[in-house]
Assembly symmetry: C2
Homo-oligomer: 336 residues x 2
Amino acid sequence: MKLVLDAMGSDHAPMNEVGGGVKYVKEFDDYDLLVVGDQTQIEAELAKYDYPADRIEVQHASEVITMVEKPAEAIRRKRDSSIVVSLNAVREGRGAAFVSAGNTGAVVGAALIYLKRIKAVRRPGLVAIFPTIKGASVVLDVGAFTSATSVNLYQYAVMGQIYADCLFGKEGSTVGLMSVGEEEEKGHEEIFAARQMITSTPLNYVGHMEGGDILRGKADCFVTDGFTGNALLKFAESVPKMVFQALREELTRNFRVKVGAWFAKPAFEVFRKAWDYAEYGGAPLLGVNGSVLIGHGKSSPKAIRSALLAASRMVSFGVVEKTEQNIESFEQYLNG
Amino acid sequence: MKLVLDAMGSDHAPMNEVGGGVKYVKEFDDYDLLVVGDQTQIEAELAKYDYPADRIEVQHASEVITMVEKPAEAIRRKRDSSIVVSLNAVREGRGAAFVSAGNTGAVVGAALIYLKRIKAVRRPGLVAIFPTIKGASVVLDVGAFTSATSVNLYQYAVMGQIYADCLFGKEGSTVGLMSVGEEEEKGHEEIFAARQMITSTPLNYVGHMEGGDILRGKADCFVTDGFTGNALLKFAESVPKMVFQALREELTRNFRVKVGAWFAKPAFEVFRKAWDYAEYGGAPLLGVNGSVLIGHGKSSPKAIRSALLAASRMVSFGVVEKTEQNIESFEQYLNG
C-alpha cells in the first residue's frame, strides 16, 4: 500500500516534501509513496537523492492551491491541483493515507468532498498535539469548524479517543470535555448535553476540563469546539517565542542571566522541542473516510517524514475503521 | 470617598484582606476604606497594625459565601454576606468601588442584582490582564458568561477599550476581535456581525486576532466570548508552572543546566512575574453600575493592595461613566 504525499503544499515545496519522502522510505518499510504534484520539479528534487526508486511513484498534477486562496473556490476551480488529485488517489484505493503541508481549509474541504465523512459522522475534527508535563495530549477540534453542537462534541470524543489510543499506544485513553470549571453545573447547554452522551457510552470520560488542565495532562484527549481549540492552539504555539524573548530582554540587562542562559540552553531546547512540529509532523483530520494528516506550511523534511510516519500509524491502527465501528456501536447507548 | 473591601473572600481571609487594606491606606491618600465582614475577626487583624485608624471603617456582615457554594443560591440565601452587604454599600453611595477575592460567580451574580447593569449594556464582562512582549493587554470576557452574541462582543469592545485606556493611561486603545484567522472571511456569524458594529463606531479596531496574537500584544484589548476567554486565561496561567517543571526535570539530568538554572534565575523570575497576580490585583467586572474588581482566592496582602489601587483608578478615570456615555453615544453609528 502507498501513502499519498502532496508535494506542493509547504513553503519550500517540493524540496521539503521530496526530502521528507526520501527520509521516510529509507527509514521505514511498511508503505511506499505516491508523490503528487509538478512532475518535472519533483523528479528534479528526487534526482538529488540516492533512494530505492521503486518505492516512490510520482503522479503529475498541473495545479497548486496556494495558502492565500479561498478554500471552497480553489477546490472547485482547481480539479487538477495536487490536493484534489491526491485525494482522488485515496478515494480510488491507490493510496492508504494522505499527507499535505498545504492550505488547511482546502485539505479539509476537499477531503469532505472527495473522501466524504465516515458514515454517521456529522463533522470532521482537526486534531492538535499539545505537550504536557506527562508527555502529550490530543485536542480537537482545533479549527476544522468554528462551532460545535453537543453531537459534534460527543463525536469528537469518540474520534479523539481512538486517535489518542493510536498515538500513545494505549487502549481506552481518557477523554475530558473543555468547560469553564470542573464543576458539573458550569458550562453551557451544548456541553451538558455532550457530557450526557459521552457518559452514556463506554468512553473513558474523566470530567470537565479547564484551560489549565491541558498542560497538566489531565486527560489524553481534550474535546472542544473548533473556535476555542484554535485559539488555544495558536496561543500555545506563541508561548515559546514569548518565553525566549522575555529571557533575551533580561539578558541585555543582567550579566548573571547572560551566563545562565548559555548554561541553561539545553533545558530551553527541551521546552522548545515540546512544541516542535517535527516531532509529530502534523494535525490529523478525523471523521473522513481516509487517513489525512495536515502538516504546517513551514514543515521541514524531518516534519514531512514524521507526518508520513504518523499517517502510516493511522492506517496500521485502523483509525478510520475503529471510528466507524465505535460511532455505530455506541448508538445503542445513546438511544437507550 | 471610600473603597469597599470584602474582608471574607480570600483563602486567608480576613488576614490578607486586612493586611492589604492597611498597605493601601498607608501608601495612598485618595480613598478611605470600608471593610466588610466579621467585625471581631477584622478588628483582631487590624489590631496588629499601626495605621491611620480614621481611614478604615469596619462594617459587620454575619455571613460568608464560600468558594464552593453555588452562586445564585448563595446570593439569595445569604443576604447578610460580606459580598451582598458590600454591594449594598456601593449601591447606597457609601462606597465608590468594590474589591473582593471571593467566589467569582457570586460577585458577578450579586453585582448584577444589587448594582444592576449600566443602561443599555446587555451583559457584563470579566477582564483578565495578559502579559505580552509589549507589556500587557486586556482580554474580555474571561468567564462572566459562557457564550456571546454579536451585540455582547460589540459591547465588550466598547467597555474593554475604556478599561484599557484606564489601565495603560492612553486614549483610544486598540481593539481586536478574536477569530480563527486574520482574514475577514474566517470566523462565524456572530463575529462578522460584531465586526460590522465595531467598525461602524469610532472604536480603534485593528482586526481579527488569532490566539497567538495575544502574547504578541497585537492589540491593547482582545474581545472574545467568555468560554474561549476563560480557556485562554486558565491555559495562560498554567504556562509558567509547565516551563519550570520542564526545566526542573532537565536539571536532574544535566549538570550544565543545573548551573545555568541558578544563573538564569532572575530571568525566570521576570517571566513568572509577568503572570503574577499581585502586579494587577484582580479582574475588573465591566458593564455594571459600579467599579468592581475580583481578586484571586490566593490573593496576598500585596495583591489586595494592588486590587484596591486598580479599583481606585477605575473610579478616578470614570470607567463606569465613560462606558455609559460611549454605549449611548455610539448608538447613532449602529443605527445609521
